[in-house]
Symmetry: C3
């Protein structure tokens, strides 16, 4: 495996890890299930949300996880989770902040995932896939660890679609010869804006069931015409 020429700057990576950690801890602090989370549980969610995306990206690329090659990633994620826990009391009702942070975080993880995949030599489609997995992976790990229904699987707010659109925009821009740094900025913006618009306008994908029902309705409506009763 050749040494990648493009390296995500450490500060950018740590910003994503830190924002992810804060967001995860805010989410976990607000969680009231039938079994409660202790301090450690909230911290684990913060670490998962801050570092999960990067871990999944590197596993899919077959590389040793970059987030474990320096002390800074874990220290940042733990510090961010602590900040998130302390702020949870104050921010409990500032829901838009949690949603906004989340939109930026999935944008960043998606862009880092796709650009690293392209640099390592993956074709466009799998590079976008790795980006989406990096963007939504932390949330999937969080939901599985907390015993919640996995959010991206259910009728929601175009969560993975926002990540996919941003990663595709990045990969397309890079394929057209754009500088990958600039392409990454475009990707992050795409994801963040689509995700926020989806939340604001309460957009979601049509359900499988609804579509099926509509088809049945059409077929049922057609019956009287084909086989008139009277």
């Amino acid at each position: 495996m050749p040494q990648p020429l493009f390296v995500i700057p450490l500060w950018a990576d740590l910003v994503a890890v830190g924002l992810g950690g804060i967001q995860g801890a805010l989410f976990a602090s607000g969680f009231r299930g039938d079994r409660r989370l202790d301090f450690l549980g909230v911290a684990i969610i913060g670490i998962l949300m801050g570092m999960g995306g990067g871990l999944i990206r590197d596993l899919l690329l077959g590389l040793p996880p970059a987030t474990l090659q320096s002390n800074w990633y874990l220290l940042t994620a733990i510090a961010a989770a602590l900040v998130g826990m302390l702020l949870a009391g104050i921010l409990a009702r500032v829901n838009w902040l949690i949603v906004g942070l989340d939109a930026v975080v999935i944008g960043l993880f998606g862009a880092f995932g796709t650009s690293k995949a392209l640099v390592v030599g993956l074709p466009l489609v799998p590079a976008v896939f790795v980006g989406v997995c990096a963007a939504v992976g932390g949330g999937v790990l969080r939901d599985v660890m907390m015993g919640l229904p996995v959010a991206i699987m259910h009728v929601g707010s175009l969560y993975a679609v926002a990540a996919g659109a941003g990663c595709l925009a990045l990969a397309s821009a890079a394929a057209l010869g754009l500088d990958i740094g600039l392409a990454a900025v475009i990707g992050v913006s795409f994801t963040t804006v689509i995700r926020l618009l989806a939340v604001i306008f309460d957009l979601s994908l049509p359900e499988q069931r609804m579509l099926y029902r509509r088809k049945v309705a059409v077929e049922t409506a057609a019956i009287p015409i084909v086989h008139p009763k009277a």
Copy 2:
């Protein structure tokens, strides 16, 4: 790591991915939980079932996932998931097709997993283990993502056992000097036939509890003989 001399032909790999994708989408379309799946959810299950086995195999072998080295795998899985969704309305009651497809798919993934593991140099026992993980891994990921009880863990229809028997047959045939392509055909056939027989005759493993009860019953029955009361 030496370059494997044996490479699974791309068309065979894509057939497995495509059948897995169709099967996953059919399964997910029939799912009626308390929280419904949207289009994206059905597509994700299709991709997981089509590509999950290969991903898990390569992670266990410490190799970069083969399914991400070309555009074809993801495109095939996505197309297959779409086909599965469109056919779901028609095929909802053709349960034997879903079961039959599934039997072939676990056979293929098991055979590809075991043969790749053998080629990479793993001993027989771990090679069979990698094959079984490749065969059932997509289904485990599906169940975890959908919040269902993990099927292979519960009293069922010899699902993992069918995969294990096929992988063991393949590995044994290869150890006896048989051509690995021929060994793979034997492995796929073993798994598919055992799985179908298990479904047809409703076979399952005895439960842990039942066995325990039987043992207690034997011990209780033995008491009068050892310590006669009268």
Copy 3:
């Protein structure tokens, strides 16, 4: 990646795998959910608990899993799971044995994880992280596969904290120049003793909610002093 100079002796690794397998099978045999486990389910839990920690460790380190490079690991884990199943009837009420075994097993997996990470060249913080993941990873996989709430996430008995303290002790001792074999013994002892003390004295971390309530109580108590009413 350089060849590690320090190699965990095979017998030590197999002892950990075997104890983990027995412990997992004992745990799974005692499980009475709404859907029962069959033989295979109990065996899978035994294999997961015996080999899961090592698999997760090597995935995080970007190395091919050591537990799949020889036949012995799987054979040991399967044999141990069988022994655990046979003993489950006798040991069902010997809860302290299951807890004691578990304390030793997380100590061993944590120590092997941290020491291998240090040898591969990871800095102190990620090395401790890898050790903790290796120690608790098998249990997380077990809970997810069995559909149980993930134990380390919930108000519990300092499970992950015991692992973390032992791994930190090992890494600190190694950083101070102690022989890594001796450091590993210290680490295992730390984890086992802390875990057992936590269970004996029923210690747990304060809940997030409780702390939040206490803070609110303090603030409420302070109000009369700052703004006296009378």
